[in-house]
């Protein structure tokens, strides 16, 4: 952001279009609007990692990467405009970053042969690659998240949560309702009681819900929140003195900006996650040297190591690795979106690979196959320390209940396949 606007303008006019060989990664970011606080770090991380690859390695397999950013403001209609504006220059993969835009783009991108990666959001049943050929949601989805919460509760209760009470505080929208079915199934299986507490958008006023929590005294509260709902919920939990360590959010309710407004009261709050946190990874030193210090950071450069920055960087890493895989499979450096799709379908992330990239144990190891576009759904748990203002991983990535989730995914994707006449394509 240190480039001058005027010089940028001149440069854009002179350059007259990108060099043909560039690999284009569109970034549908939301740096404005009600959810900007979440969109800024994600987009910074996504951009910075590609800048690092360009500066340090000369791109992916020797081909430079170009990130075209398009502002959606988390608005579906603007997302459509962004998609239509960028789909022409052979985009490698779309990260729509909003449930609304994802549902919007699933049929479009599939028809256009462009892959999509919805990491930890979007349509959960897209894990079934047999039906959703161009949509990937590795390494974990919402239902994994729900199961991860329950698994963690099992873990801290020595495997028995029979008779416990779990309250789900959720954003009253399609996103917030995602975990309900999974949690209902799991409550039957493990014998815990589930209390549902919807919060209407935007969620600034949650007194009713928290009074109910105070009356019913659930043993644990889990939250599917977004935007202002997160900050208010954590503040209200602190207000009624609900024990923070029994309050577990989904990964979209577990970033720095969600807990910081509540100050010291948020200490001990937990959130499930599918990637590691903090900046104790060698890759951040490279980012500091090649990107931040060189003045090439996408944002102000102050977000490095934030949960959502890491998530954006992780998404970029997975995209870059998939592109490398695609280059290997097809034996060409100049890959098309279709080849990229094949690369994503053959992606394998191992511990060695991540260590070589300077990100040891940054996320779970997994392997994508034709039938499984969602990875193995490994979920860990983070905890917030208000004193040092850091998140730390307190429970490592562990497998989720594939039995329960698998059945739900099969059911939902079969319905989608029947509705849209999709043939089975995996052998």
């Amino acid at each position: 952001m240190k480039l001058k606007l005027t010089s940028l303008a001149l440069g854009a006019a002179l350059a007259a279009g990108p060099a043909l060989a560039d690999l284009t990664f569109p970034d549908l970011s939301y740096r404005t609007g009600p959810y900007a606080a979440g969109g800024i770090p994600f987009s910074d991380g996504y951009n910075d990692y590609f800048t690092l690859l360009n500066e340090r390695d000369g791109g992916i397999g020797g081909v430079k990467v170009k990130v075209t950013e398009c502002e959606t403001g988390y608005n579906t209609e603007k997302g459509v405009e962004c998609y239509e504006a960028t789909k022409g220059d052979s985009p490698m993969v779309y990260q729509p970053l909003s449930t609304g835009i994802t549902y919007q783009l699933i049929p479009k991108a599939t028809a256009d042969g462009i892959p999509m990666h919805t990491m930890g959001y979007g349509r959960t049943s897209a894990k079934n690659g047999d039906v959703f050929s161009n949509v990937f949601n590795y390494p974990a989805n919402y239902w994994d998240g729900a199961s991860g919460v329950v698994n963690y509760l099992l873990e801290i209760n020595d495997g028995n949560i029979n008779g416990k009470k779990l309250a789900l505080l959720y954003h009253n929208s399609a996103y917030g309702k995602e975990p309900i079915r999974t949690l209902e199934e799991l409550s039957k299986k493990h014998g815990f009681e589930l209390v549902l507490l919807p919060v209407d958008h935007p969620g600034q006023e949650q007194k009713s819900q928290w009074l109910q929590i105070r009356r019913e005294k659930p043993d644990y509260v889990t939250m599917w929140g977004w935007g202002v709902m997160n900050q208010v919920a954590i503040q209200e939990a602190a207000n009624i003195r609900y024990p923070m360590e029994n309050f577990i959010g989904i990964w979209w309710s577990g970033a720095e900006h969600d807990v910081l407004p509540a100050g010291a009261a948020a200490d001990g709050y937990k959130a499930v996650t599918f990637h590691n946190v903090g900046r104790d990874f060698p890759v951040f030193d490279d980012i500091q040297t090649y990107v931040i210090d060189a003045g090439k950071a996408a944002g102000a450069g102050d977000q490095v190591g934030n949960v959502l920055y890491n998530r954006g960087m992780y998404a970029a890493m997975l995209a870059a690795e998939a592109a490398k895989t695609a280059q290997e499979i097809h034996g060409t450096q100049d890959i098309t979106p279709e080849m990229m799709r094949d690369g994503m379908e053959a992606l394998e992330i191992t511990e060695e690979k991540m260590a070589a990239l300077g990100m040891p144990n940054f996320g779970p190891s997994f392997k994508v196959t034709c039938g499984n576009h969602g990875g193995d759904g490994m979920v860990g748990v983070n905890q917030w320390d208000a004193e040092t203002q850091t998140w730390s991983l307190i429970s490592d990535f562990k497998p989720t209940d594939s039995e329960v989730i698998g059945a739900l995914i099969a059911e939902d994707s079969a319905a989608f396949a029947a509705e849209n006449n999709i043939e089975s394509r995996c052998k």
Binding site: I40, S208, L211, Q235, N239
Partner: protein, 336 residues
């Protein structure tokens, strides 16, 4: 006494408190509507703008830093100081007065005598403008708001009130939850309303204000400067917006969604009438209690919850069918 009854009492008390917070936002609308007939759609955005300005000034943030950095390649972020809250509040009030002057000078002085719908539309434009301006000036991240009036003390309290908890436990065997922030908001609102009433009853400007509210033409003809009164009214509304912004921002951090609190004030306005300050307070209380009790008794157990948003409007609608001008609104007399 049954548990349900005790719980209902707790819910009612909390509803009253929430109602006060709604009323705080509604007050700003009423002030401007009464004096100038403008339905100020930008009131919510003004609260956001005021709160962002307050945090920005307190933390010594450089305004427009992102834009400046992008244009000139500099690396400015903050001035490196941290102002005491009291001083920052005063400075923010100054900014809001300046804003009021600007609004009057550049917008409404050109629209004197226009129909209400056109004035309303101008406030729509103003809302867009302020929203963009606030983001450009201070950035769109969430900012933590921590107002402490005297250095480290006199901070906005948050969390359960221990005394009420203990006393009610003694009485009913169940400690009531009342948020300290809500109690503070109630006190602030009471002081604010008392001050506004005192101002409009006992000062020259206040009397001029009421004269203008009664009849523009007559006020003009006795030599009251409409221009000055309107700047005054917009400043007052800006100040109320700041108070509302602080109270709501303390809970959620200062962020874009603050501008949506206007939606919570609309049913209050309907119920209380657009022209009445006591109406805004009583309306707020009725809406607060009504929506919380409905959610408690019917919404959550039978309808699956999250009924508050629409119930507030339906409640107001039912009242309106019987009193089309709101509870305290001026009686609508229609002549042909």
């Amino acid at each position: 006494m049954s548990d349900q009854f005790v719980f209902a009492m707790e819910v009612t008390l909390n509803g009253l408190m929430a109602g006060v917070l709604y009323a705080l936002v509604a007050l700003g609308f009423v002030l401007i509507y009464k004096a100038s007939g403008i339905f100020n759609f930008a009131q919510g955005v003004m609260a956001l703008f005021a709160a962002m300005t307050l945090v920005g000034i307190m933390n010594g943030q450089v305004p427009f830093s992102h834009l400046i950095n992008a244009t000139f390649g500099t690396d400015l972020h903050d001035f490196g100081w941290h102002l005491p809250a009291l001083l920052a509040i005063l400075l923010t009030v100054g900014v809001m007065v300046l804003l009021a002057w600007g609004v009057q000078r550049f917008v409404f002085s050109h629209l004197v005598g226009q129909e209400p719908i056109i004035l309303f539309m101008a406030t729509i434009g103003l809302a867009y403008f302020l929203e963009g301006l606030a983001d450009l000036m201070w950035g769109s991240e969430i900012k933590t708001l921590n107002v402490c009036l005297f250095g480290e003390s006199g901070c906005l309290p948050q969390g359960i009130n221990e005394t009420i908890d203990a006393v009610t436990y003694e009485w009913f065997g169940y400690g009531f939850f009342i948020d300290n922030l809500d109690i503070t908001a109630t006190i602030v609102a009471a002081v604010l309303v008392a001050a506004l009433i005192a101002f409009s009853q006992y000062t020259k400007q206040g009397r001029a204000l009421r004269a203008v509210a009664d009849d523009h033409q007559a006020a003009l003809s006795v030599g009251i400067s409409l221009n000055f009164i309107w700047i005054l009214v917009w400043s007052l509304a800006g100040f109320v917006a700041l108070v509302a912004g602080i109270m709501w921002g303390a809970k959620s951090g200062v962020q874009f969604s603050l501008s949506l609190i206007a939606l919570k004030a609309l049913p209050v306005l309907m119920l209380g009438g657009f022209t009445s300050i006591p109406g805004a307070i009583v309306g707020g209380l009725i809406i607060g209690v009504g929506e919380k009790l409905f959610e408690f008794a019917i919404g959550a157990p039978f309808l699956g919850g999250a009924t508050e948003n629409w119930f507030a409007y339906v409640l107001a609608l039912v009242f309106l069918v019987f009193r089309p001008q709101g509870l305290f609104g001026e009686k609508i007399i229609e002549r042909v």
